[in-house]
Symmetry: C2
Subunit: 340 residues, 2 copies
């Protein structure tokens, strides 16, 4: 039963207001703190102590408007919207519903914003404990939803004094396989473990995890290393929002110079995708480098429909990553093809 | 320091093979188990004991092919692909890279699949402990990636004997605010806490969480309640995949009967989105219920370009959730508009 860890609640911290010294409050409530402890501190009390509050009307449409303004101010970009839910990326880089703005555990005339820089908050707290002779690590935590799974879990917004990842790169298992799972987000797991004892209504905003660290690491990176930048995120936009972006892509397709032959199977798939919605008078001839569309209806309406059908096929080809150049012919249109 | 919890590693379980009695192995390794403990059991040893292994060649292209076949068999739908990474939804409903198939901690001629029914596995284990007089709860855990955040965490694939959620619905905070954060996914947090002591290379496949439960709940739902169905998931597809779906939507747009006027601002946005890529000869007249496109070029090519431009505008309007019916005119085309 050795080598385990303990997760301990810190009770009696009471209400926190702007300007409060959290280190003093926590050490008074938990005189048993010891070197090597990891303190998981709910971001709510960090925000309150730092005065990250917005005054809002207690109710009515004015409250809704003030709340919307606060959300807009905290938002770097909207990730997804559905019904009353807005998931945004904050200026810090967190992807959270309502930018993490919270109206719970605060009086009705205030909203609580996230700390302006949770890693800096964690470092300040750690420095404050160190000044009292306590060499502890700090995780600033908050509650987040996730894609794909119901329910919320606590994760780390900020950290100081411990490595955010446990890294298995280069290690091998007992069978000699190199480990493919390299980076465990241990500060998120510590935040989750802390939440199990904190609870939301019991006024326990701090948990202590004892036995995880042998000693804090002064030079460790902060929790910001857990933020995935949108370019490397396969889920940077909500599905509906990305689908809308695809419609706009189709609306704005431009000629792209062909540079290599397109995969004939993919071209046939694209034709199959649109041919059932084409004008019955439209025909297509495929070659390795082009699709030529003609119409049996040589009226203005016939050519107009041919043009619409050609753009449908361009969009379907774009969905197969095949770029096109549109070349008008006297009696039709040629789409020159190239793998994108 | 009361009311905390302990997270304890179970050492000495050793290698697990098909047919092994996990309850016997765990109770032998942890004679200190007690009623009310939550056992977090790594799914890998559950799979091994249940014989959920696939034989594969140790290397070469045959191994890659066998691995791809195993992935296809475990996949209900592909969620996102990028480079070597394929994220799928499994037949169970989990969204995981490579369907959770793992080649680590097993000899080179086998792959380990997820348990066929992790909730059933958890119930069987719990029943096995009960038969030995130990009333414990069981969480079957595995390691998953997430959207938006780097690093992996352990979550619950299966559970028995405890509520998957801690539910705050209907509760109020000390300020009288009704709590908006309702459901904490505590079994995922327990899995995360367990991972902190298990480690990947240290042959500790089971952790015990003591002090979390006062007593197990026999009738609790399993971890399957954490699975969000794709229809209610705002991130059911990768961004690139959804964008491709939007291109295909544009390719396959069909006439939709108008039923209510479209928002004029949204219509103007759609026109602005496409007018810079339109033929310079195309003009548009907007009314509350229609967009009429005409061209100054009355050759076949002119009408063909007009048709392509009309389809561009249809796609841009669809991106604004405005449905259209295309009506040919003798000298142009009318798009009848309606909010979708």
């Amino acid at each position: 039963m050795t080598d385990g860890l303990e997760v301990l609640p810190v009770r009696g911290i009471g209400d926190v207001t702007a300007g409060d010294d959290l280190v003093a409050l926590i050490t008074a409530a938990a005189p048993w703190l010891a070197a090597g402890d990891v303190l998981v501190v709910t971001s709510k009390i960090v925000s309150k102590a730092e005065g990250r509050l917005v005054e809002v009307p207690a109710d009515g449409p004015e409250r809704d408007a003030a709340r919307a303004a606060a959300l807009a101010a905290e938002t770097a970009r909207v990730v997804a919207r559905r019904g009353p839910t807005t998931i945004v990326q904050t200026h810090h880089g967190f992807v959270m519903a309502a930018a993490g703005i919270d109206a719970s555990n605060v009086d009705k005339t205030h909203l609580v914003l996230l700390p302006a820089d949770p890693d800096a908050s964690a470092r300040r707290l750690r420095a404050g404990f160190l000044a009292r002779g306590l060499d502890v690590a700090v995780v600033v935590s908050d509650t987040m939803g996730r894609a794909w799974r119901n329910g919320l879990t606590d994760v780390a917004l900020g950290s100081a004094g411990l490595e955010p990842f446990r890294d298995h790169r280069g290690e091998t298992d007992p069978y000699g396989n190199e480990l493919s799972i390299t980076q465990m987000a241990v500060i998120d797991e510590l935040a989750a473990a802390g939440e199990l004892v904190k609870g939301k209504c019991d006024q326990v905003p701090v948990a202590v995890i004892r036995g995880y660290l042998s000693a804090p690491t002064t030079e460790a990176a902060g929790a910001a290393v857990l933020l995935r930048d949108p370019a490397s995120d396969m889920f940077s936009l909500g599905t509906a929002e990305a689908r809308t972006a695809g419609l706009l892509d189709a609306a704005r397709l431009t000629d792209t110079a062909p540079h290599q032959p397109a995969d004939p199977t993919a071209v046939r798939r694209a034709v199959a995708a649109v041919s059932e919605v084409w004008s019955p008078r439209t025909t297509v001839d495929l070659s390795p480098t082009a699709a030529v569309l003609r119409t049996a209806d040589t009226t203005p309406t016939g050519f107009m429909r041919l043009g619409a059908d050609a753009h449908r096929l361009r969009a379907a080809l774009a969905a197969e990553s095949i770029a096109t150049v549109l070349v008008p012919l006297p009696d039709g249109v040629r789409l020159e093809l190239a793998s994108a």
